[in-house]
Symmetry: C2
Subunit: 310 residues, 2 copies
């Protein structure tokens, strides 16, 4: 299962009850943060999921409302006792930008940087810690990335078959983990005892962009699609275009085209005092839409409610 | 009169109800901020004093808990409609550090930088906007400055004398403002109608330092002395020394030696959950001590309760 929490749901400037953009994912106790606006560490503290187990920070782009919280968070992670390196991924230049910001933050571990340069509508896949990720180029004033988290799920283990082969129990978990084993002079591969791969979990995160032709395929089938809705009212479309952002109806159309399970709107303009007021506009297009709020969170399980076999 | 507000009272890391270090002063509607830890703009928004009239930002030193909020705040000040330049003062290097941090913040005005290098116990005096300031070198791991705000107060205007000279009312305010005027062939200077200069207002701000020999004179006679008390317990002295910080009793001793009017303790360690618990230790040395909290504020008036004559 994968836990997801919106940490900050504001764009541009923080409001009293809406801090700047960030999203947290937790998988098997390890954590991934996407974006790190000012105040991220404050809300993370309130969430109570801890700091030490944050292995990966993915940055969408280099605007303050998405990255200004980085030096403070890295310091606090350091103060939590972490000495293992952290992976920081982002558009090309992330190493230079993070190093500039961290001139004020003497951190006790070395970040590992992953610089991503996807082109056109083709995503770049990468592993970071135990997270399987993809990044897509978006359309903003400066280079900006969308991210997708994928949790694969192996096929079902066929215990009857394993028994028929006469395989001792001690070998079962090795095959379940994808290993090949030798038993009584015969070689057994996982495909001999595992069913076809089952639907896993996908969460996509798209903010600070105009809609692009690549987004629907990138987010396709996501259990949860987190997307910016800078403005709620369709009348704000021209302003959204000028600022290279999206409005609720555009995010909802992407959710529909990408056959997402649920849509969470986030990154609201300070001018959008009550996002819920405009939720019907999104739901008219995509019924499973919700407006996000700071610390909104959920646990996504595999479709049939079972835990992973692994 | 001078308004003073503690914006953030935490050191190192933010707590749920205690954000990172900053202090705000307001004089005749113009504002000065000292330090700008992460989350400063959030608390400034809650204070409700506005952003556009912040003319000066003084930074004590380049650790994240004192400066990480700078890019976000400068952006928000820009979004408030300000196009006038802001003065940013700090230790030598402030221009370079602020420029590095602001790589993520495209701000619509040009900051003016004041780089300060006081030596030994000799303060450096400077004007920034309508604020009369002094900076003192402190003793921390990296160069760090204490600041003092001074509001001068002219002598009392002697209306009887002005009448005897036959000066028309229209000239009175000019003399009160320090101008020289000519009337019926005679030159009048302010000292001819103004009494001796009266006690003004002083507020001093000292954080992230060991006690130094220069501090008592620097803060002498301050109506309000704001000082760090990283730890409350005297038993934490060795840890404070190692980190180059002060404990409550040291701050109180400085307040006593400097004949301050009132002491506000701030910049508490995250380990100091309830600063009030240790307040008796400070009050034993300096009875007019208080523990600070976020948004604690006061208005300091001239001693006899009168407003300035100017």
């Amino acid at each position: 299962m994968l836990d997801i929490a919106l940490i900050g749901t504001g764009g541009f400037m923080p409001m009293h009850n809406r801090y700047l953009t960030a999203m947290l994912a937790r998988l098997n106790g390890r954590m991934l943060l996407i974006d790190c606006g000012e105040g991220t560490q404050m809300t993370l503290r309130r969430m109570g999921w801890g700091f030490k187990d944050i292995d990966v920070i993915c940055i969408t782009h280099f605007h303050a409302d998405h990255i200004a919280g980085l030096p403070g968070l890295l310091l606090t992670i350091g103060n939590s006792g972490r000495t293992d390196p952290i992976i920081i991924a982002g558009p090309k230049g992330i190493r230079e930008i993070a190093s500039r910001l961290c001139v004020i933050a003497p951190i006790p571990y070395e970040p590992h940087f992953i610089e991503l340069s996807p082109k056109g509508d083709a995503p770049v896949a990468f592993m970071a810690g135990n997270f399987k990720l993809s990044a897509l180029a978006l359309n903003h004033h400066i280079p900006c990335l969308g991210y997708r988290i994928t949790v694969d799920r192996a096929g079902k283990f066929d215990a009857e078959k394993a028994k028929r082969f006469g395989l001792p129990l001690i070998n079962w978990s090795k095959l379940q983990k994808g290993e090949t084993i030798d038993h009584e002079g015969r070689r057994y591969t996982p495909d001999m005892v595992m069913g076809p791969e089952r639907k896993g979990i996908r969460v996509s995160y798209i903010t600070d962009t105009r809609p692009t032709s690549g987004i629907p395929d990138f987010i396709r089938g996501s259990n949860l699609f987190i997307a910016e809705g800078l403005y709620g009212d369709d009348e704000m479309l021209d302003q959204a275009k000028e600022k290279r952002h999206m409005i609720f109806s555009e995010a909802a159309t992407l959710a529909k085209d990408g056959e997402a399970g649920e849509l969470w709107l986030t990154h609201f303009s300070p001018a959008l005092q009550d996002p819920k007021q405009y939720l019907p506009i999104a739901r008219h297009i995509f019924p499973d839409a919700k407006t996000g709020f700071d610390r909104m969170n959920t646990t996504i399980r595999f479709k049939d409610g079972e835990e992973s076999d692994i």
